[in-house]
Amino acid sequence: MKVASGEAARAKHDRTGSGENAFRGALYVAALSILVLLAAIFLTLLVDSMPSIKALGPGFLYGRTWDPVAGRYGALPFLVGTILTSFLALAVSIPFSLAISVFLGEYFREGALSSLLKSAIDLLAGIPSVIYGFWGLFVLVPVVRAIQIKLGVPPFGVGIFTSAVVLAVMIIPYSAALGREVIQLVPCDLKEAGLSLGATRYEVTRRIVLPYARSGILAGMVLALGRAIGETMAVTMVIGNSNFIPRSIFSPANTMASVIANEFVEATGKTYVASLIQVGLLLFVVTTIVNIVGRHVIKKVSVEI
């Protein structure tokens, strides 16, 4: 009787043992499949853009003409468009995101005012990009057009400037969130030391808080830039879909993301499709580098603190 129950216990133990191994195995498989997924994404982009890489070579990167009908695929207009829109958006967003960071991190850490601002920022981050684009197209574009008429430039309404404004609004929540966190982490004794020497709050913020938090603030800006580079729908709707190198910040243009959105479905021919996928590959590589740089800066900050 005793022996039997011992055996039963062992059998039961073996069963749970195998269940345990299966469970651990499943977790490993899940984790490894994330690595496989990422590798597969990269390889798919690489393999599918091979026809264009082979046919065009490095000329793809500096070619100034994108004319699929004539078989010319130069991605330079899109590179320029992407760089102009995303950096302009970042420049527009910086004063606002910095102000929000200081407001929430230094002046009003808690209370009704700060929770109001915080919830509003969350809402801003939650609005789908297609709605930003739609709003930009119907509300912002006429405003920009009126400004352009006043300035005496061709009144397209759509273009790099309009996209940058929409993008700036979209990326404010990202850099503001990180900025707020690092500003809150500035040690109180540093600030108190400044105040006790007779510095005003402005001077403390400017000479102690911001320098102390600068790498975190920078990281927030880098991550926001990454978002601006990859943002598709809002930009596609207000940038004007023009495949020429933009002449001014009011010109219509295309970014890497928007040209894919505009042309991929209609693309015919092996090289045309492959060259659009190559634009995607380029976009993937650029955003990945920007993101890794941003995360690296964040990690450095968290180690310092």
């Binding site: 899940a30 801003l124 684009g133 709050r201 959105a261 659009l276 993101n291």
Partner: protein
């Protein structure tokens, strides 16, 4: 510098910071104002249950897009939630080591991939193989976008659960897998639910990955191997069309989508507050 000047400077700075902060919210209020003003008038029961009508006929609705969005979200959840939670458990259980480091990096990279690139991937993997646009390919694209959010939420939540809980369970002789599934996961359910809701809210508004996967369809489509419409896709197509009737449909659809997405975010917040992991 003169003291008065410095004090004035200090005051001005504070006012400036407050002014800029609230100025940044102006677009938010403008967007909410416009989609409410232009959208709410077209939203009624018939709007929600009717199919779109051709240009010139009134009374068109967005039923196909609502159903399409639901189908896409179910598909993407099926793809992302089990895998994401399992990978999240792995990361929370193995906090150091090479694989963990690499998986974490992969999750970060995955989160940063532009949505349009995910669309290309789903196109290459599924649409090209099947030879047609389908809800399935759109669901997979959205699922890939949900994954990193679910993984991070699971990992962060489970990391907060104290070791004593796990040790108590193991000391009672509960096997490892049961400890995780019956003790650790339920304790972190609130955080994981929040992550899932946030990720669903995030992909519910995505358009770019659907442009050449789910593609859109003016009909009611329930077959996951056929193209379907979705709210964001419909907004994009109607907003960029030249017809005012379609624009007002797009405003209505925007209103519905915004209420849905912001509502999901709100529910996620309530869940966090109610089921916060506390020890």
């Amino acid at each position: 510098m003169n003291v008065t000047v410095r004090i004035v400077q200090d005051r001005l700075f504070k006012v400036g910071v407050a002014l800029l902060s609230f100025l940044a919210l102006l677009p938010l209020f403008l967007i909410l104002y416009y989609i409410t003003r232009n959208g709410i008038s077209s939203v009624n029961w018939r709007f929600l249950v009717n199919l779109p009508r051709p240009v010139g006929e009134s009374g068109g609705g967005i039923a196909n897009a609502v159903v399409g969005t639901a189908i896409l979200l179910v598909l993407s959840s099926v793809v992302a939630i089990p895998l994401g939670i399992a990978a999240g458990i792995f990361l929370a259980e193995h906090r150091h080591g090479r694989i963990t480091y690499m998986v974490r990096l992969a999750v970060e990279v995955l989160q940063g991939i532009p949505s349009i690139v995910i669309g290309i991937i789903a196109y290459a993997w599924i649409v090209l193989r099947m030879g047609k646009f389908s809800a399935l390919s759109g669901g997979v694209a959205l699922g890939i976008m949900m994954l990193p959010v679910v993984i991070r939420a699971t990992e962060e939540t489970l990391k907060m659960i104290p070791d004593s809980l796990r040790e108590a369970s193991l000391a009672l002789g509960v096997p490892y897998h049961r400890t995780i599934l019956r003790v650790i996961l339920p304790a972190g359910l609130g955080g994981i639910m929040t992550g899932v809701l946030v990720s669903v809210a995030r992909v519910a508004g995505e358009t770019a990955p659907l442009l050449f996967t789910a593609f859109g369809s003016p009909y009611m489509a329930l077959n996951i191997l056929k193209p379907v419409s979705s709210l964001p896709l419909m907004i994009f197509n109607y907003a960029t069309s030249p017809y005012p009737e379609w624009h007002s449909l797009a405003w209505g659809a925007s209103f519905v989508l915004a209420v849905f997405v912001l509502g999901l975010n709100l529910v996620a917040k309530v869940v966090t507050r109610k089921w916060k992991v506390q020890f």
